[in-house]
Symmetry: C2
Subunit: 208 residues, 2 copies
Amino acid sequence: MKIAVIGTGSVGRTLTDGFRRIGHDVVIGTRDVAETRGRAEWADEAALVPFAEAGDGADLVVNATGGNVSADALAHVDLDGKVLLDVANPLDFSNGFPPTLTVKDTDSLAEQLQRAFPTARVVKSLNTVNAAVMVEPAKLPGESTMFLAGDDAEARALVRGLLTDLGWADVVEFPSLDAARGLEMWLPLWVRLMGNLGTADFNLKLVR
Amino acid sequence: MKIAVIGTGSVGRTLTDGFRRIGHDVVIGTRDVAETRGRAEWADEAALVPFAEAGDGADLVVNATGGNVSADALAHVDLDGKVLLDVANPLDFSNGFPPTLTVKDTDSLAEQLQRAFPTARVVKSLNTVNAAVMVEPAKLPGESTMFLAGDDAEARALVRGLLTDLGWADVVEFPSLDAARGLEMWLPLWVRLMGNLGTADFNLKLVR
């Protein structure tokens, strides 16, 4: 399928490589194509397109921007009727490490985006691991669990298929986007575990 | 050792049984011994003592009260110099299910208790699973992970020994009590998983 990855940071780049590996056609939306192409890591990147073109013909749009700029960035993308996979977290590093969450408990970034773009079909997933693990769960020494939350069954099924193709065998699906509150509130423990373990390459396996 | 469990709910009762199983001498602190003894499930319980006596000679005090009443209950217990194991969560069910957290992100129940009782040595652990799993990790079909956070190394070591005796083989230790923020913020995902899985008998295994 055609996937539009929004965001040119390391998450966007890693997802782009991962989605191509499993055979998808990926464009990368950026605010300023010339500026992004000027960075060494994107110099040879032909798939960069401005935000306004990124959604054209896309079967899936992926929010890989920072949580605090996601709504601003996505406002420029055509999301009408499209599945929007939100992998971002609403982290606030303004007071240093560990970050806090800009939204939590009674709301989530995913729900904020759903309200901002009501004709999009938002699915939350992949936000519980780092980018390298998102696209290659087998790099961890043992099977771990991926979560998926969204209100739209067809949108969840599309993302679930993508997860399967990426190598996620154990997927726990929530049929309601507000479960994103729980998924995002895992991050305060995740960031502390990253500090404690000295690596971002880890995940949880749900033992049940 | 002598353990004082504070709280006569199902968590307190399950912990009492579990600690006795591994050979400890347990008293259960309650606000009103006569009233508690009047309940069918505590009718034969000789170990019930009033809060004011519960800490006498205890090597470990365990907070098994509800998070929203913990500070009030513990104010009646002698905690001076004692290790206080906090297994509670600051859950607010006033708006129904799923609950929210009364404190989060920049503070935690464990830190609130440490500030309220500065001569206690607070350790956060076991709050990430239900009571049955706390005392019998082997009831799950696979090894899972327990966390432990506290500022005092000796207090952490005492609790770690207790965890080992209960059957916890994979323990991740945080040398700072503020990691309790992450441990308590796991609960919003935990309660949603309980609803989704239809059981409270589950836990996470850290795959790393």
